[in-house]
């Protein structure tokens, strides 16, 4: 008899493992996007403040984004080993281009009249950024966060190759043992996580910027 796509008895026997892997997947993703945001905001502000740096910053993050995940993780392994650090450094690197580009685009989208008015009302540069420009840029920034999050959830599976991987570990197990059930469980749950994250973030974006509802 051929190997069925899903053996429920395996799923029942491995509920704890599945939950732990899902949890690890979420943790790896959250940490990567959070660190990505912490790095992207200053980068985007620098890129906007000093025009000459825009090209190099987008170029550098673009090169990082272009390097295939297998290669990026592989280049890190000799330095940080088959570790969680290796996984996170790689995952964070991939979020930068998407986040920086959308933060810059969001801030550039703030109408000049609005900035003028804020200036006239006596906002200092920092106050204007935090209380006028950033709130108006929220729709574009959250769109970037959604793309970065969904992309990261997919990339986490690749870190299964360096001994991490969350649900990706099941995909690798399925490949190595030529056994479909873990492969299907890992794939389906990874897609489900991406969809749930996207819907949750879309909801959060609406709450934060109700005027942008389409």
């Amino acid at each position: 008899m051929p190997d069925p796509w899903l053996r429920w008895d395996w799923v029942r026997d491995h509920t704890d493992d599945i939950l732990a892997a899902t949890r690890q997947h979420v943790e790896l993703t959250l940490l990567a996007v959070a660190i990505g945001l912490l790095l992207s905001f200053p980068l985007a502000l620098v890129a906007r403040r000093w025009r000459r740096t825009t090209g190099p910053i987008l170029g550098f993050t673009g090169v990082l984004f272009t390097i295939p995940s297998l290669a990026l993780f592989a280049l890190l392994v000799p330095f940080t080993g088959l570790s969680r650090t290796t996984a996170e450094v790689g995952l964070v690197a991939y979020t930068l281009l998407i986040l920086v580009r959308n933060i810059v685009a969001g801030l550039e989208g703030v109408p000049a009249e609005v900035k003028e008015a804020a200036h006239g009302m006596g906002f200092r540069p920092l106050g204007q950024l935090l209380r006028v420009e950033l709130p108006l840029a929220v729709p574009v920034i959250t769109a970037g966060i959604r793309i970065a999050t969904v992309t990261t959830i997919g990339l986490v599976t690749v870190t299964g190759l360096i001994g991490q991987g969350g649900l990706g570990a099941f995909i690798i197990e399925g490949i190595n043992r030529d056994f479909r059930t873990p492969l299907v469980v890992g794939s389906v749950l990874s897609v489900a996580l991406a969809v749930v994250a996207d819907v949750l973030l879309a909801g959060a974006a609406r709450l934060l910027a109700p005027w942008a509802r389409r």
């Binding site: 987008l58 295939p68 769109a143």
Partner: protein
């Protein structure tokens, strides 16, 4: 010995440049597989996206295709394809599932960008072309497509770079290509081979990106060159 020296030694070892397991053969394999997958995906995806955009139909499907594609991990597509159609068969072990998976990955960005590019053609321009007496075919080939080209090309770059990247992952499902060096290096705990393979894979992706960027600049009409970033951003920011 230090790692950089080991990597240099790896690259200068004659054995690594000969035969079916050598760099030239792996590189040719990788390029042929990626090229074939991108061409096949263009044959499927471009007419579909252009037609949908021309008719102004199926927008939600066309635009969301790329978002859905992003949610499915490429490793999962490779492994599931391997299970669905098996590893053996022409033109080599693991080649068939790798090819099918790569085409499946490359189609969504092509369809989405072709659609977005076509929809981005201003109605006034279409109106003017019709007023000049252009037929549907002339309108498509001489007005809409040239104007949509920057966005279509951006989609092609995205698709091609993704294919080159994922082709390296196909080593995990027993295919060859440049990813073989990295995956074998992991297996043998051979850091020099891991880094050498990673350098080759990264260079291949960067060269693909640069080469297609050059092609894009060469084929796009000069009057249609806004900021490159804006063109690439168009599909990325359109999220429904």
């Amino acid at each position: 010995m230090s790692l950089p020296a080991d990597v240099v030694t790896w690259f200068t070892t004659a054995e690594h440049w000969r035969g079916d397991f050598g760099v030239p053969h792996r590189l040719a394999e990788h390029a042929a597989m990626s090229g074939a997958a991108v061409v096949a995906a263009m044959v499927v995806g471009l007419p579909l996206g252009i037609w949908l955009g021309h008719r102004g139909r199926g927008g939600a499907v066309a635009v969301n295709l790329a978002n859905v594609g992003r949610a499915i991990p490429s490793l999962a597509i490779l492994a599931l394809t391997q299970q669905a159609i098996g590893l053996s068969g022409w033109p080599g072990f693991g080649a068939r599932p790798a090819f099918v998976a790569l085409v499946a990955l490359a189609v969504p960005p092509l369809v989405t960008n072709a659609y977005v590019g076509m929809r981005g053609v201003e109605p006034d321009v279409v109106e003017a072309a019709r007023g000049m007496g252009m037929t549907g075919g002339e309108l498509l080939w001489r007005v809409e497509l040239p104007i949509a080209l920057p966005v279509v090309m951006a989609g092609l770059r995205t698709a091609a770079v993704q294919v080159v990247a994922t082709a390296s992952l196909a080593a995990v499902i027993a295919w060859g290509g440049l990813g073989r060096f990295v995956v074998d290096g992991f297996g043998q705990r051979d850091n020099a081979q891991i880094v050498a393979g990673a350098v080759l894979v990264a260079l291949m992706a960067l060269v693909t990106e640069l080469a297609l960027g050059w092609v894009q600049r060469a084929v796009v009409s000069e009057g249609l060159r806004p900021g490159r970033e804006r063109v690439e951003q168009a599909p990325a920011v359109v999220t429904a």
